[in-house]
């Protein structure tokens, strides 16, 4: 099967004054369509840096990345935005919902940027899918942490991407809510969505089909297991 996202020899160097910080040192990564991949590692191991490179939010210092078969190095910012818009949905630890927009409007936001007209029915379906059918008109301040993260997941889904990249999606949630979020991810994955999740939560990470372990900017382990039966 052809990889949906593939990276070879990714290196990322940040400069702080004269100091050079190697966030990633020659990382190879591959994910296939419909796969659930987790990335774990201690703080500072380069997990988020890898996720940002995979999502084209940042450019590697060296190395190559193919997204849906397209080589991303050398692409202009405008083309990267388009590629990201069509292929990737992001979920952040801090949710990053706009506080003055309702859940429904937050979900519509990517459509505004991609100049698509979202119809009410489409947003209602997504709200139903994440279990927030009756909370669409609530502001983020009126929602619980778990509900806010579900709105963020719905927002990531609205452009119908093939891949969801999630950075510590349960980092701000209690264990019961984390379990609910995992279930939601699991359902989306069963519907064919590729999931790449960076997490500290080993229980969540072990539920993935493939688990990369990062330490000091390098992949030190890659466990593969068969997809758990529903």
């Amino acid at each position: 099967m052809r990889a949906i996202i593939e990276a070879q020899g990714l290196t990322k160097v940040y400069r702080r004054g004269r100091e050079e910080i190697f966030a990633l040192k020659g990382v190879d990564f591959v994910a296939f369509p419909g796969e659930f991949v987790s990335i774990i590692g201690p703080s500072g191991s380069g997990k988020t840096a890898l996720l940002n490179l995979l999502g084209c939010l940042d450019a590697p210092t060296t190395g190559g990345l193919q997204l849906g078969g397209v080589e991303t190095s050398g692409l202009r910012e405008r083309d990267l935005v388009r590629l990201r818009r069509e292929n990737i949905g992001f979920v952040f630890q801090q949710f990053y919902l706009m506080p003055t927009l309702t859940a429904r409007e937050n979900i519509e936001l990517p459509l505004l940027f991609s100049r698509k007209n979202g119809n009410r029915g489409q947003i209602d379906d997504i709200l139903e899918m994440v279990g927030l059918g009756d909370r669409g008109d609530h502001l983020p301040g009126q929602l619980s942490g778990g509900e806010m993260q579900r709105v963020a997941i719905a927002r990531a889904m609205v452009n119908d991407p093939g891949i969801i990249l999630a950075d510590e999606p349960t980092g701000n949630l209690d264990s019961a809510t984390s379990e609910m979020i995992y279930k939601l991810f699991s359902e989306l994955n069963h519907q064919g969505l590729t999931l790449i999740v960076v997490t500290h939560n080993l229980d969540l990470a072990r539920k993935a089909q493939k688990m990369y372990t990062l330490r000091d900017g390098q992949i030190v382990g890659c466990e593969e297991r068969t997809r758990p039966q529903r």
Binding site: R84, R85, F90, F92, T100, L109, F113, A156, N159
Partner: protein, 395 residues
């Protein structure tokens, strides 16, 4: 949802800050709007007042500066006089259709109730000639004949203010002679509404100024001949000629310095308000870098973010512009009162003239102000790369 609703909702997040910025813009726009209204209205009203005199040229005693000419228009009195010979000389100039003599006299009248003295102006005129200069005059009662004694006409405003009625007898002059009101002029909307009018000879007699006149008002047969007539008049000894254009020019000059002071105040107010807007926007852009990073991650282009910031600025300045315009419309009387106190000469009518074009200009100006102020913050926010934005927010 579109960029404008998104921008409006963003602004509502910091209501207090947004409101203060809008108020700052509103004050600046309101002052600007009032001054522009004043500028066009002042000239218009002054022109109207000059035209309503029906006079093209004024002959005043030599040594009487233009400023004094403006005093004459307003009913001031100058302690210099022309003679009947001067009148004959002026009348004989070719192309002079009419040269009519006038005597002005001022006296102070004490109000019995308040004890305050107010100046009253008496014009000694030749009625038949005056009616040729001001054919629009209408009277309640009757006009006087030039050889009548003990009669006068009063302006409408004066009559109302002093509670004067037809047939009423008033004492006049040092001998407190009885003078009867035979006519009340219908409202003209200019200075004439404020004056007492006597037959010229009677005014000269009552006030002890026999044979003396203060000014000669000249009507020219052909408007294109004004300067030629003016040159001829200058040749008459003792006479200085003042054209209405000169009077207007002098008044406009005098008012000009007050207006440039006001303009400076406005320019400073606008600059302060512009910096206030830029500062507010930069603050809000810096606070939201992480959010902009998220927007880029979910598909926004740099230009989308810039557009949103620009829309926020324009919304602020446009609301400020609308508020300022409404405030200026509502508070125009107060502003006019303030400005009238500052100007050396003010036409009697309202001279703040609001036009739809002016409203459009004020609103367009506020939009331009927004665009100018928003450019740098918008550019700054649009240049952030998503990772920079997200990282800077996390630090």
């Amino acid at each position: 949802m579109n960029f404008f609703t998104l921008a409006a909702k963003n602004l509502l997040r910091r209501r207090g800050r947004t409101l203060l910025t809008v108020l700052g813009v509103a004050i600046a726009i309101s002052v600007l709007f009032s001054l522009l209204a004043l500028n066009s209205g002042y000239e218009k009203e002054l022109n109207r007042e000059m035209n309503s005199m029906g006079v093209h040229l004024l002959a005043v005693p030599k040594g009487c500066p233009y400023e004094a000419a403006s005093l004459i228009i307003h009913g001031g009195v100058i302690p210099k006089y022309l003679s009947a010979r001067d009148l004959t000389n002026v009348s004989s100039i070719q192309d002079v259709e009419l040269a009519t003599p006038m005597l002005m006299h001022q006296f102070m009248k004490k109000d019995e109730n308040t004890g305050k003295s107010t100046p009253h102006i008496i014009y000694g005129i030749n009625m038949a000639e005056m009616l040729r200069l001001k054919p629009w005059w209408k009277v309640e009662g009757r006009y006087f004949a030039d050889n009548e004694t003990g009669v006068m006409l009063v302006g409408r405003d004066l009559a109302e203010k002093e509670n004067l009625s037809l047939g009423q007898v008033l004492p006049a002059g040092p001998m407190r002679e009885s003078v009867t009101i035979v006519g009340i002029l219908e409202r003209t909307g200019d200075q004439d509404d404020q004056f007492h009018f006597f037959p010229l000879a009677e005014a000269q007699r009552v006030f002890g100024k026999e044979g003396k006149i203060t000014t000669i008002a000249v009507k020219v047969r052909d408007l294109s001949r004004i300067s030629a007539v003016s040159e001829e008049m200058e040749k008459v000894p003792d006479i200085q000629v003042v054209t209405m254009t000169q009077v207007m020019g002098t008044i406009m000059n005098l008012a000009g310095s007050a207006r440039s002071l006001l303009l400076t105040v406005i320019a400073i107010a606008l600059i302060i308000s512009a910096f206030g807007i830029i500062n507010t926007l930069l603050m809000s852009v810096n606070e939201r870098t992480r959010e902009f990073g998220m927007m880029k991650a979910i598909g926004a282009l740099g230009t989308d973010i810039g557009k949103m910031v620009l829309a926020e600025t324009v919304l602020i300045t446009l609301s400020g512009g609308m508020l300022g315009t409404v405030a200026a419309l509502v508070g125009s009387r107060v502003i006019e009162g303030f400005v009238k106190g500052m100007l050396p000469y003010s036409p009697r009518g309202s001279f703040i003239s609001f036009s739809p074009e002016l409203v459009v200009f004020a609103l367009a100006f506020s939009v331009v102000l927004g665009l100018v102020c928003g450019i740098y913050p918008a550019f700054k926010s649009s240049r952030l790369t998503p990772m920079e934005a997200i990282r800077s927010g996390l630090e």
